[in-house]
Symmetry: C2
């Protein structure tokens, strides 16, 4: 089954909500931060040095959040930066989050915005998908269903990711129009009569064309922010067979109405990400934080399906 068809199945079953996993330490429930939910089978964890302990706490929180949101979303997007910030043990926690997502039947998008050239790009892509080959053995690293990538370095920087994704039935999401206020500094520059992001969109449409699955969409997706509703309309039309990953819904200001333009007539074609809005709708001291996460996920699912 291709990546695009697995994504289509997830969206048909549970709607377009993608839950972003951005575990900021200061936002965690106070009981977690105090170590009261460290794995029972590892009581000695409290005595390990601080970074290992923090990463274990974050890992435990992420596992719980994934269980809570699973009934309401088919797709999750862990943000690599917040795990990287916890050092090697954080990297292990990110592996755990991606493994948990797989066990729960969730499609994963590793949001790492990687981009480099030639064999370096292949190293990142192997880390994301097939794993590390050492003396005939293959060791899994991230084992993610898909990865976000940055197109600035050009054709031969993107292609190693596409090749590695194809070989492992995985997908990519190429940054086209990002959701931040200052995104336009380069993305909006007009070249040959159209903005840079439209040139990137044209390249994505071309890369995607040979990867269409039974659902009619392909394995090379595009990141298009919900905070630019006009561009969303324009880019949906420019890339009719491309899955859009739409960040910026919820806490960043995009509404369910804003993102409607991202869907195709068949209801497929977009996954809409909410991170803080779903995973941190509570004060750290709130003992009912789990109920608030469930309610936020339920509400976002209903809004986006409506």
């Amino acid at each position: 089954m291709t990546f695009s068809d697995r994504l289509a199945e997830a969206v048909r079953r549970k709607g377009p909500l993608c839950v972003g996993i951005d575990p900021r330490w200061e936002s965690l429930p106070a009981a977690y931060r105090a170590g009261r939910h460290l794995p029972a089978e590892a009581p000695e964890m409290a005595e390990l040095e601080h970074p290992l302990r923090a990463a274990a706490i974050v890992g435990g929180f992420v596992t719980r959040v994934l269980e809570l949101v699973e009934p309401y979303c088919g797709v999750v997007k862990p943000q690599a930066a917040f795990f990287e910030l916890l050092g090697p043990a954080g990297t292990a926690a990110l592996q755990g989050a991606l493994r948990d997502a797989r066990h729960l039947g969730l499609v994963s998008i590793l949001d790492a915005k990687r981009g480099d050239i030639a064999s370096t790009a292949t190293a990142y892509a192997d880390a994301a998908f097939a794993g590390c080959k050492i003396d005939g053995q293959t060791l899994p690293v991230w084992d993610a269903d898909s990865l976000t990538i940055n197109p600035y370095l050009g054709r031969d920087a993107v292609e190693p990711f596409l090749t590695a994704a194809k070989a492992a039935d995985r997908g990519t999401f190429v940054l086209v129009r990002t959701s931040n206020p200052g995104a336009g500094l380069f993305q909006d520059l007009v070249c040959d009569g159209k903005p840079l992001y439209r040139h990137v969109a044209a390249a994505v449409a071309e890369w995607n064309a040979s990867t269409l699955g039974a659902c009619g969409l392909g394995d090379v997706g595009a990141v298009v922010g919900a905070t630019h509703p006009r561009e969303l309309v324009e880019l949906r039309a420019a890339m009719p067979d491309v899955w859009l990953l739409v960040p910026g819904y919820g806490a960043q200001g995009g509404t369910a109405a804003d993102v409607r333009a991202a869907y195709r007539a068949d209801g497929l074609g977009a996954v809409v990400n909410s991170s803080r809005g779903v995973t941190f709708p509570f004060h750290p001291d709130d003992p009912d934080w789990e109920a608030k996460v469930v309610a936020a996920a339920q509400k976002a699912q209903a809004e986006l399906r409506g």
Copy 2:
């Protein structure tokens, strides 16, 4: 002492050579791959599971390479992708490489090409420089002297990196014109009469202007490939006070004559990277690999100083 002044001191002492650390498993000396150089104080390492063992072997090789090249270069550039490919233990090996570089008095450039928005960019930047703040404690993560960053996401994606670098007296190198053959797909698009990479160069010059050190150069550098000698001339002129990180010399085809245009009249202004050419100038079975690394570093230093 600012980052730019530390870099100037390194270049004055040892010339512009930067040695890139890209530890590809299949290129390592056979004796390392067989585990014959695992740390003596950890003989049980051979019994650890495979990824930890591979990362320990890579870490040991990198430590030795840094010792070998240190007399001939003032700057080293570990490539994050090849460490990431080894999982959490690889991440620890990268921390070790950056720590070794610091102990040897080498200026480090963490080549991770990070780029994201707002608090996510801050998380990457904190990982690179100041470390992770947890309940009043700060845990070092990469502790690199500088970091490569990707500008595609625009102003508010770059600025968190600049802010974090300034607060910790560190530097950044923004991708402007990369060394790969397909770099032009987007970088060469002409907007308002000049190619995209010139727009990025103008932004870098502006960001750099407020960070000048005693050496007359600033803390916000630019990546400009040696494989585009004409652009190198043009970009040196467009960013007179900006440190250039010049990849593509050596194995990628750029010559010492090609990169000369990157230096300012005072001999400062550029660090020129060679990775494979210096660190893997041997066949894996060659017992004299250390002598070959020393000779390659010596030759590159002399060529670039000449």
